[in-house]
Symmetry: C2
Subunit: 361 residues, 2 copies
Amino acid sequence: MARPRISDVAAAAGVSVTTVSLVMNDVESRISADTRLRVREAARAVGYAPSSVARGLRTQQTRTVGLISDQIATTPFAGRMLAGAQDAARAQGHLVFLVDTGGDDQIERDAIAALTAQQVDAMIYASMWHRIVDAPAGLPAGTVFLDCRPADGGFRSVVPDDRVGGAAAVRELVAAGHRRIAYLDTTDTPIASALRHEGYLSVLAEAGIPVDPALHVTGDTSAQGGRSAAERLLDLPEDQRPTAIFCFNDRMAVGVYTAAHHRGLEIPRDLSIVGYDDQQLIAAEQDPPLTTVALPHYEMGRWAMEVALGVRAEGAEDATHLMECPVIRRDSVGPPPAQVAKPNRRRASHTERLPEAAIDR
Amino acid sequence: MARPRISDVAAAAGVSVTTVSLVMNDVESRISADTRLRVREAARAVGYAPSSVARGLRTQQTRTVGLISDQIATTPFAGRMLAGAQDAARAQGHLVFLVDTGGDDQIERDAIAALTAQQVDAMIYASMWHRIVDAPAGLPAGTVFLDCRPADGGFRSVVPDDRVGGAAAVRELVAAGHRRIAYLDTTDTPIASALRHEGYLSVLAEAGIPVDPALHVTGDTSAQGGRSAAERLLDLPEDQRPTAIFCFNDRMAVGVYTAAHHRGLEIPRDLSIVGYDDQQLIAAEQDPPLTTVALPHYEMGRWAMEVALGVRAEGAEDATHLMECPVIRRDSVGPPPAQVAKPNRRRASHTERLPEAAIDR
DNA sequence: TTGAAAGCGCTAACAA
DNA sequence: TTGTTAGCGCTTTCAA
């Protein structure tokens, strides 16, 4: 059985297709209540649902959106960003085409062409981590950049406010009483790390804490990278060693936990840690749960879609919207340990603590 | 400037729209090379690309696929499944509509209606973890179920072969010499856990190892759940305690690591562990890296899409395809510890080991 | 309050 | 080898 058409409904209801169309689209002002009911009934009877394709051709509006992203498969963040975009799209009665290019330029070009051919009403160009990208050719005007900014402007974009987020993280530590705060940085993702570093420096300045270059170390964005960088920090002489570490991200923070545990340092008693990302299945599951700064992925996805669909009339044509990154307080931050005079005291106290670890079996 | 139409190209090239259509669709047999070139040139000149919407209306084939899933946002598996489906779709020149219902039935119904209205050529109904679902009404025939099976059949489906996967995991342990192997199970996800349990039992049987009910414990699927369940296992008298634990999933395995560390047990020297899922950012980043069984998400996604688009002519209309779960060998499996006579020996060796941990600073 | 008819942009049957 | 034309299923103008 073929898909019923509007004329089938018209015939069944004994009216014209115009009338059916009017009823189906709730332009009912001019249709009598009686006719309306007959049409509705007939539509249900034949199992009619308007063809979006035909409607799209006629109205030149498809109620679809294209979402192009570089990496969905390999990042744990994709989900929330997509969810935000999806929810906003659904609220507007739009369906979203998702294309993951895997970073391949040819696939990206093809995707833009295919999406354009599909006459999507809007387009979102998403990156899975905050960075500056070269806008690909062929993107329709009005495309919104999600978690990235076009190098040459020309498009609206939304990115996390990493500077303020970094500041919030460090302020958390300062508020707990720390003065020797390290920034465990990375060089893998320049934009975000530089911004978080700026935030770090601004808070040190506002708290009147001198900047110690030795407390700024880098590693690659993995637990292993975090661990090696942390080792360097913990190898510093006792009086120069940080009492708190702000980590570029949660994965690196996990490495800091490992490094700390291997030295018998207890978190947060001996060392406070703040991460970034609030990565699911990681941050909250540490022991103790990690205090971190959340990346507002859902909100960014939602914002991008709303702007793309014109729900939100955001200012300038190529303005960048900064989304707040909230601090998620858990249990990895505490006051700094009481000042210790001799470098060897800590090692001693470490040894004293060992029985505790054995006891809880 | 409006989108150029086929007639614009025809006018520019001085031919009919038929000719243009023929050329654009590579049905060139009847078109002279000369005309072909002229048309191509004209198309480029006016910046023409055929409208998929118009073509879809005319041919009744949209070259789009609908992918409905319950939870993308909250699962780390979604990505690879999507990637597999996407890649297969792209290979066929199809675009995919993605809808995440979040498990909401109303959203699901709306999505099915919207996708049907869009006249998608195929549909995939995906779950983010292996389970049996009630097929929602309105799904078009030919819909493929991904990582789930319809309770009443009627549709093709692809799911991981959890029974064989569970067997492979346990066989790994048996091969290393273990005889007291626990299954750290969960009740959160009945299908998968029951199948893996079957695999576990089958390998014990084939190895002639008696089943010890005390070695079958359950917890919820989290690090915390794994930890508590592991505590129960490790609390067993020395001679009944397992030398190896097969965990329902990697998250729970992480909890086992924690429990083991708190007792001073070293992995794999004192305890071997095998997980399941090969969860990114978790399994490989444990210390030591976790041996686990991978869920073939990419392959399942790819398979589902290929079957949905008819690339793969799979047998029966409602057959279930079982996808192999490969063992990922890392460093959490070793031979069982040498038999220890007295219950206290282990604690002694634990204490002896402590200096090692302190040394590596 | 309702209907006839044009046309969205394309493909394909048929004609030349 | 190429062109004319009907029609895919709908919306919308205009007329009744």
